[in-house]
């Protein structure tokens, strides 16, 4: 049985060092501009109330920033939008803090840092900040997080006939985790996916494979970004396809036996 899902991307958000929004990153991906050395290093995350923004760890700020951009472009009210937040490793700065504290003085654990350590911290802060009472989720699939997360969001959109916010990102690892995770820079992106007509059309199908598909050369322009954040390479391939207004295939790793084959019709 071969089943395909049809969704449209009506909103896109992105944040990477040197390209703090989709407008700039799109120009970079099209070769019209380079990365901006003076761009802010930290996401503004303007949607979070000031007090929350101060307490929010990097991954929450990153997710809130790209989610806000995508919702604004899609002209969607986040309060009604089910959301799926995907991340390979979650809040790794907090993981480093928690493990360091536990090894030295476990009774001194910070309660705020502990509740910020959950993978659904971005979903929690986002739904609180936007008053969103719809379903929210936090998902992960190691090196296949983008494909598996995108499938989860597209399935939700098509099965419930609703627009869905999908955000994907990872922040820089810290301490001994840098060696293990190989993530040295943050990268985030978000899409608002609609099952109805509108936006850039995407057709998603599951394709049996023997090995994970390779990242196409289209992201070579941003090789430095991709090598500092391996999780971003697949996302950059997808964003490059969205930036170029021409039909293109993107094949994302999904599972031990499948890839997520995306046909994008700009």
């Amino acid at each position: 049985m071969s089943v395909a899902l049809e969704v449209g991307a009506t909103g896109i958000g992105a944040f990477v060092q040197g390209a703090p929004d989709w407008t700039r990153l799109r120009e970079v991906l099209l070769g019209k501009q380079g990365l901006d050395p003076n761009a802010p290093a930290k996401p503004a995350a303007a949607r979070l109330p000031a007090a929350e923004r101060r307490r929010a760890p990097d991954g929450v700020r990153l997710a809130a920033e790209v989610a806000e951009q995508a919702c604004a472009m899609a002209a969607c009210d986040p309060a009604t939008l089910p959301c799926v937040f995907a991340s390979t490793h979650g809040e790794v700065g907090i993981t480093d803090y928690v493990c360091t504290t536990l090894a030295a003085a476990p009774q001194e654990m910070s309660p705020t840092k502990f509740h910020n350590s959950v993978l659904n911290a971005p979903a929690g802060y986002w739904t609180i900040a936007t008053g969103c009472t719809a379903a929210s989720s936090a998902v992960s699939a190691y090196r296949r997080t983008l494909g598996a997360g995108l499938l989860e969001a597209a399935v939700l959109a098509c099965s419930e006939d609703t627009p869905v916010l999908f955000a994907h990102g990872d922040v820089a690892a810290a301490g001994p985790l840098v060696d293990i995770m190989q993530i040295r820079a943050l990268f985030g992106m978000a899409l608002v996916l609609t099952p109805r007509p509108g936006g850039t059309r995407m057709r998603l199908a599951l394709r049996p494979v023997d090995a994970d598909p390779q990242i196409p050369e289209s992201v070579l322009a941003l090789q430095a970004v991709a090598s500092d954040n391996p999780a971003s390479a697949q996302a950059l391939a997808l964003l490059a396809a969205l930036a170029h207004a021409r039909p293109v295939h993107v094949d994302l790793p999904l599972s031990n036996g499948l890839s997520l084959d995306m046909e994008i019709n700009a």
Partner: protein
């Protein structure tokens, strides 16, 4: 309101927790009111509390071919996967549908963080020691990646990690994949293991009791943390006409606070309403509710407000007095206990509760009760205001 769904057949279930390995140990414990909590002998530094620890995990290394996945959480997953005929049921589903037509959706909050903690205790000149330099276990997807390798399932594979609702939400995601025809079966479940992160983390929030937890008791003062592995195999109803059914689910967000529930149970009620709507039933049809019932003062006070929606004949309990709060595994574990209640006509008691809070008392079972249960709900709520409610029914019940 969401549309009604086609019920799915639950063709296999399994549970491993402080109550023992497999369904028979759980059923025996629930029927006899025998709990599994004991004084904390796990954490690396003293912490006065009770825990629901699975015996023998330390003595059960993974088979040599899976050694790269070695860690406490994957050991517990492996133990769970060996119980209740699961290996045969999974192999059968794979052979009937094809490995890539079986999805794998697992919930966890701890994943293998216990072994990341271990690496930090044994740092070698600022680096992980050689035996723990295995990136695939220091990540939330460690569990599902291991289970995919161990079972040969090659369909869509995903980790859901929304704290204590994680492994309830996997049932919802599986239903959607099957409804859209992207898979023909799904192995769902949850595995969480004891580790310092959760013991000292919940302790830092003043949420850990020094006694065995007392869900819905007027004197309750916090949770007891446990560990568990629980699984269920979901297929379309035609595959198993006599099997129990997943008939509905609801998911919602509180939009209120990171670590305390909405005072009016707004999110819990929204999840309940959606679960009933997808099942096509109203609250009158519900015979039993397995409550989230963590035994924190706030959770139980707020969750009791949900009970006023139900008629007098609906029975309710929290089973966390038996197993402890198994966090990311709680959704799947308590789904399995709800299915046992349906199959065997037994209402588990709220073990640990002797003087129930008035808002919950009319519905709350304090002793094991034998009675027919056709429809059961299971509540799971997590940090970030993340809520899920699952609805199950006996096969053939007109809903």
């Amino acid at each position: 309101m969401p549309a009604r769904i086609e019920p799915l057949a639950i063709t296999a279930i399994s549970a491993t927790s402080a109550l023992g390995r497999g369904l028979a140990a759980h059923l025996d414990a629930l029927r006899n009111g025998r709990g599994g909590l004991h004084a904390n002998d796990f954490s690396c530094a003293p912490l006065a509390c009770f825990i629901g620890r699975v015996d023998g995990v330390e003595d059960a290394p993974l088979p040599a071919e899976h050694a790269g996945w070695e860690c406490r959480n994957n050991r517990l997953a492996w133990l769970g996967l060996q119980q209740d005929g699961l290996p045969g049921a999974i192999a059968d589903a794979v052979s009937r549908h094809g490995a890539h037509r079986v999805a794998l959706l697992l919930g966890t909050s701890t994943a293998s963080i216990g072994d990341t903690e271990l690496a930090y205790r044994r740092l070698d000149d600022g680096h992980f020691p050689a035996d723990l330099r295995r990136p695939q276990i220091h990540t939330p997807h460690s569990l599902a990646a291991f289970v995919a390798a161990a079972t040969g399932i090659t369909g869509p594979a995903l980790t859901i990690s929304t704290a204590c609702s994680s492994s309830a939400k996997v049932f919802a995601s599986a239903e959607r994949l099957l409804r859209l025809g992207l898979a023909d079966a799904a192995l769902v479940g949850g595995v969480d293991t004891l580790c310092d992160s959760v013991l000292f983390g919940f302790n830092s929030l003043d949420l850990v009791s020094q006694q065995p937890c007392r869900p819905f008791d007027t004197g309750r003062d916090g949770i007891s943390i446990g560990e568990a592995a629980a699984f269920a195999l979901l297929e379309r109803a035609a595959a198993a006409p006599g099997a129990a059914r997943l008939i509905g689910y609801g998911e919602s967000s509180d939009a209120h606070h990171m670590s305390t529930p909405h005072p009016d149970a707004r999110g819990a009620l929204a999840a309940l309403d959606d679960a009933l709507a997808r099942a096509g039933i109203n609250a009158d049809a519900v015979d039993y509710i397995n409550l989230h019932g963590t035994a924190t003062p706030k959770n139980d006070e707020v969750e009791a407000k949900v009970l006023s929606r139900f008629p007098a004949h609906t029975r309710a309990s929290s089973t966390k007095g038996f197993t402890g709060h198994t966090l990311g595994a709680a959704g799947a574990l308590e789904a399995v206990l709800s299915l046992l209640a349906i199959e065997h006509g037994c209402v588990p008691p709220s073990l640990g509760c002797s003087i129930p809070i008035p808002d919950a008392a009319p519905w709350l079972a304090l002793q094991p009760e034998a009675r027919p249960i056709d429809v059961a709900l299971s509540n799971s709520f997590g940090f970030g205001g993340n809520n899920a409610c699952l609805a199950f029914a006996r096969a053939g019940v007109a809903t």
